[in-house]
Symmetry: C2
Subunit: 135 residues, 2 copies
DNA sequence: ATTTTTGTAATATATTTTATTACAGTAATG
DNA sequence: CATTACTGTAATAAAATATATTACAAAAAT
């Protein structure tokens, strides 16, 4: 998973919220966060897939929100950009002949799933509109 | 931050919990998780710094818990191995001339801090002993 | 003395992220 | 209807990060 995905997506959506109904170009958006426009377009592609934004191609093209910022929760954004929160796994497959190695990952999974559930619950109550009200 | 740090450390501590009072070698531990012994020794160094384990050098040396597994919480381990949970930041510094770019990171910080607080509260109630009881 | 282990530094390899380049397709506008 | 300014997407390059490896001094058991 791309570490910056959630942050970049939220940044994009904040800009779109702050310019309602305007079509912003990927280059303009990229300029606000100092990253490459192609990366912005990729994340916008993801947002479009989830019907959160809509784009117009061609001259004066760009992207805008497809629904009110009040109707988008941070949980929605989280689910679109994050597989799940985790505190990590060891890179290699553990030794299956070791009683601990054999079960460590499933036990981590249980733990991480429960963390995840709580985070989702927390993010569900924050709308994009609310988040952007601090700018 | 090293992604596998928490998982590796928890794996080490689980092994130590399952062999109370025995000094386990870094090579044995590394074998259970299929990683390099040097990486294990590094994480053990971190655990020693926090007085969670103690090591003995020389022949038949190794590491064991320095206190009962019931007295170690997953929050303790989390705090030793994770700076803080976050949903990520965009890699580059955002544009300070953009009202959104200027404030995005502090707003993300607020969000992530609140997520973090809840996770810590959750982890505080799980002891290492409890976690290892599922093996 | 020899062996086995920790502790630690330095370096190399692998992996993952991000950036860049390139270009076809679309739509507005003179 | 040519030109301009965009999107969409693929392919590749570069940078950053994580992990592995090598090496060796120091410690302790026998």
């Amino acid at each position: 998973m791309i570490p910056g995905k959630f942050a970049i997506t939220l940044h994009i959506l904040t800009l779109l919220t702050k310019s309602p109904d305007e079509f912003l170009s990927s280059e303009y958006i990229a300029g606000s966060m100092n990253i490459n426009p192609v990366l912005v377009r990729k994340e916008i592609g993801n947002l479009k897939k989830h019907n959160v934004v809509e784009s117009r191609e061609g001259k004066f093209g760009g992207t805008r929100l497809a629904k009110p910022a009040a109707a988008i929760s941070l949980e929605d954004i989280f689910n679109m950009t994050f597989n799940s929160v985790s505190l990590g796994y060891s890179k290699n497959d553990p030794n299956p002949d070791c009683p601990v190695g054999k079960k460590i990952n499933e036990n981590l999974d249980v733990l991480y799933k429960s963390i995840n559930t709580k985070i989702c619950k927390q993010l569900k109550d924050i709308s994009l509109l609310q988040f952007t009200s601090n700018f």
